[in-house]
């Protein structure tokens, strides 16, 4: 206590003077700081509006019900609509999710729920888990064209799948696996330990605990991961450029090539003079991404509400 005993009156004086002088300065710097943040967010919103606005305004003329429902006819002028590319995109999204969904969710469950085996398990299990975690981290940072080239080398040429839906789906699955694994891991981690303990303490096995308690509670987060992947697939070009071929016709089987929306956009912009149609396609893409993001937002809001309720 002794070191705090300074003559009281003087202390009060000094403190009050310096505090108010300091206060003005602090308030000023706060204003400057907030001003900068404001500006930053304003710039971001502006950029977004300009990009989206530009695409919509240029693409507006070509947007119509016909544009959405007729098939592209090819040629230098980019005749026709985008119907087959929409269908191809949907095919590809479905295929990729069928492949990457179970794989990614399964891997995430293993990585999180059996994590302690990194410490108690055998050397081989430890090594496997560490390698898997490291792999996921590395994969999520790799540029997508590398997945494309890998897909080309392995699926298109070595395995002889050709430029096809199958090759593109397998390469695309590699692309979104890290996203699905990551988001599922995060979703599993948000499930409170107390729920797991409660289940185990009732004589549930680990698998029963995961399937009946942990997974149901994590589902909104997992769905978010899936929706993010859908967005990623819809907007991806590089991977499909080298695995899907470029046919604008509707794929007839797993082994036929095709075009996704964003690939079509790329071809329209590079090989034709139908710039407005490219922009129209872009507008369709943007709308679908916006819808996906709204769905994600809705789900995550529901998720956080559920978590809050539990705390």
């Amino acid at each position: 206590m002794s070191e705090h005993e300074i003559t009281p009156i003087e202390t009060v004086k000094i403190r009050s003077v310096s505090a108010s002088a300091n206060l003005r300065k602090r308030q000023a710097s706060q204003k400057v700081g907030f001003g900068l943040f404001w500006l930053a967010s304003l710039v971001v919103i502006l950029i977004l509006l300009v990009v989206v606005g530009y695409v919509f305004i240029t693409g507006f003329k070509s947007l119509s019900w016909d544009f959405l429902t007729t098939a592209p006819k090819g040629g230098l002028s980019g005749e026709g609509g985008i119907s087959t590319t929409i269908v191809t995109t949907i095919y590809l999204v479905g295929l990729i999710l069928v492949i990457a969904g179970p794989l990614g969710i399964g891997a995430a469950i293993f990585l999180i729920e059996y994590q302690e085996q990194t410490k108690t398990g055998g050397k081989f299990v430890q090594w496997l888990l560490q390698a898997a975690n490291f792999g996921v981290e590395t994969l999520s940072g790799i540029p997508s064209i590398i997945f494309g080239l890998f897909g080309y080398a392995l699926f298109v040429s070595t395995l002889q799948f050709g430029f096809s839906l199958l090759s593109a789906a397998l390469a695309g699955a590699c692309l979104v696996l890290p996203t699905i694994i990551r988001t599922t891991q995060e979703a599993l981690l948000t499930v409170p330990v107390s729920l797991r303990e409660g289940s185990l303490a009732l004589g549930a096995t680990r698998w029963q605990t995961i399937s009946k308690v942990v997974l149901p509670a994590a589902i909104p987060g997992i769905i978010t991961g899936i929706m993010l992947s859908v967005g990623r697939i819809i907007s991806e070009t590089a991977v499909f450029y080298v695995t899907l071929g470029g046919s604008y016709r509707l794929p007839k089987s797993l082994f036929s090539g095709g075009r996704t929306l964003s690939l079509h956009l790329f071809y329209l912009a590079m090989d034709t003079n139908a710039f407005e149609k490219a922009m129209g396609t872009g507008a369709v893409l943007i709308v679908s991404i916006v819808i996906i993001n709204l769905v994600i937002d809705l789900i995550s809001r529901k998720l956080s509400a559920g978590v809050r309720q539990h705390q």
């Binding site: 108690t120 729920l195 289940s199 303490a201 549930a204 309720q309 539990h310």
Partner: protein, 255 residues
């Protein structure tokens, strides 16, 4: 003294290199309430979690000595089978985000009971056993999370009863509840002891005095290693403690 339900012999537990509890030999009698009291960090909960092997979940845990349930070695039992015999109620009520009915039916279901009429009966008996039936019988489809804290904790007790254990471990079951809800839990404990062996960890010495027949006092020093100081009938611990540290603790001389 009743038959011995739970027993440890020279039992020690380590988290990696950390020596958490040391050399505890204790005999817990059947169909009695045994309270484990002591300051924070003295290994009470860790000791409690020995009996349903909840410590197995923590990586790097190592034990020495013996822990027995009905004379059988706990560590050589199948852990799932053990947890059907030894139920647990946690400090914070942790009902599943499911309906009241599904919460109580969870244990029987994971143990393979799926006939609706059997489940209905188990749910009713368990909720009655946990003194919750009259409050929820018309709302069994309501989420367990919609109940008040005290009701949630009784739901968790009902959930534990539904597996038909013979032992119930309670880890500070009233720590997060208001005084009225606490009182109801304490009354419930006195009813349950007619049929179950109850081991309760509590910070609250008055609570130990009110609900328990036997009390074990755990203590620790700078080493943070928990040791058993004294075990006896609760009234003896509270009126005539044999150890100075017990006396100091129950008279509130430790902060």
């Amino acid at each position: 003294m009743n038959a011995i339900k739970l027993e440890t012999n020279a039992y020690s537990l380590f988290y990696g290199k950390f020596h958490a509890i040391d050399d505890i030999s204790l005999k817990i009698p059947e169909k009695q309430v045994t309270a484990i009291i002591g300051p924070s960090g003295c290994g009470k909960s860790t000791f409690l979690r020995t009996f349903n092997r909840m410590n197995d979940l923590i990586p790097g845990v190592r034990t020495e000595g013996q822990a027995l349930l009905d004379g059988e070695d706990i560590f050589s039992m199948d852990v799932v089978a053990l947890r059907q015999r030894v139920g647990m109620v946690f400090q914070k009520p942790n009902p599943f985000p499911k309906s009241i009915y599904d919460n109580v039916a969870f244990g029987p279901r994971v143990n393979g009971i799926h006939e609706k009429n059997v489940l209905d009966e188990i749910v009713e008996i368990s909720l009655r056993g946990a003194a919750l039936w009259n409050e929820v019988k018309d709302n069994l489809g309501k989420s367990g999370l919609a109940l008040s804290g005290g009701q949630q904790q009784r739901l968790c007790i009902a959930r534990a009863l539904a597996v038909k254990p013979s032992v119930i471990l309670m880890d500070e079951p009233a720590a997060s509840l208001d005084p009225i809800a606490t009182q109801r839990i304490e009354e419930l404990i006195r009813q349950l002891v007619e049929e179950y062996t109850i081991v309760i960890v509590t910070h609250n010495m008055q609570q130990a005095g009110r609900v328990s027949d036997y009390t074990a006092f755990f203590f620790t020093d700078e080493s943070r290693t928990g040791k058993l100081v004294e075990f006896n009938l609760t009234r003896k611990i509270f009126t005539n403690p044999q150890d100075k540290r017990t006396e100091d603790y129950i008279t509130g001389r430790y902060g």
